[in-house]
């Protein structure tokens, strides 16, 4: 039981706990908070894997922008406790089994594949950010530009959606 493993389990537990809590909580704000916990602990896991830049971005963008946006919207709409309607019988019956099926499939696939990579242990060696950026701006430059367009479009869409039509 060496230190990194310990850290891993702690963070994993945090993440899973957060996810579960997200489901259990009735109030969106609490769900949001538990999701933030998940994200932060994931960022910790990234650090553990030496993906520092991704970790930082994870927190800055997910934690600092997206989730803030969620919280902001929740506050803006003053969303209350979610009402427990049950119109969709289907969801009621099939939900849990399906989720189990998904998890089971993936886990089974992981377990079934006797690939060497799976047993490769995650060294803490730091992923050099320089190389990452080189990769991003050389090989993946077109996707990168595309994402910039995507963001532009998203901004416009958000503005159009959210503005009150002036009558």
């Amino acid at each position: 039981m060496n230190a990194p493993l310990l850290v891993f389990f702690v963070l994993a537990a945090l993440a899973v706990g957060g996810a579960v809590n997200l489901i259990l909580q009735k109030h969106p704000i609490h769900s949001a908070l538990s999701l933030i916990v998940v994200m932060v602990s994931l960022a910790g896991l990234y650090l553990l894997m030496g993906a520092e830049f991704v970790a930082a971005v994870q927190i800055i963008v997910y934690g600092g922008a997206i989730m803030v946006l969620f919280v902001f919207v929740i506050m803006l709409l003053n969303a209350g406790i979610e009402e427990h309607t049950n119109f969709s019988k289907l969801a009621g019956f099939a939900g849990i089994p399906l989720a189990l099926a998904v998890t089971g499939f993936i886990a089974a696939a992981v377990a079934r594949s006797n690939d060497a990579v799976l047993s490769v242990s995650q060294t803490g060696a730091v992923a050099p950010t320089k190389e990452l950026s080189t990769l991003l701006f050389r090989e993946f430059v077109y996707p990168f530009e595309l994402t910039s367009f995507l963001i532009l479009i998203a901004i416009l869409g958000a503005i159009v959606l959210a503005q009150r039509e002036h009558s």
Binding site: F8, Q58, L118, L132
Partner: protein, 100 residues
């Protein structure tokens, strides 16, 4: 040290939980969050693989995923605001008509 499969299984679990939330939550915003949760699970898998294979592509993908998630959140929350404005309810089960 930590085998990759641990990370993969963790991400699988998180994904499954995301699915559960996706199905069982009624609040639009929460459902949105559950989608983000699933995305995060995928990201974890990406990073784990990129480390295991000694290639950084996975991390690049993660960056892309995050960007897309941001865009999605912007538009999606716009829609959520619109729904709340027109239906006075955030419960997806009350939002079951295509027209207002």
């Amino acid at each position: 040290m930590i085998p990759t499969s641990y990370y993969l299984v963790l991400s699988a679990i998180l994904f499954g939980l995301g699915v559960v939330a996706f199905i069982f939550k009624r609040n639009v915003i929460t459902i949105f969050m559950s989608i983000e949760l699933m995305l995060n699970a995928v990201n974890l898998a990406f990073v784990a693989f990129s480390r295991a294979l000694g290639q950084l592509d996975g991390q690049v993908f993660v960056l892309f995923v995050i960007v897309v998630a941001a865009a999605e959140a912007a538009v999606g929350l716009g829609i959520v605001i619109l729904i709340a404005r027109n239906r006075q309810s955030l419960n997806v089960e009350r939002v079951d008509l295509l027209k207002l």
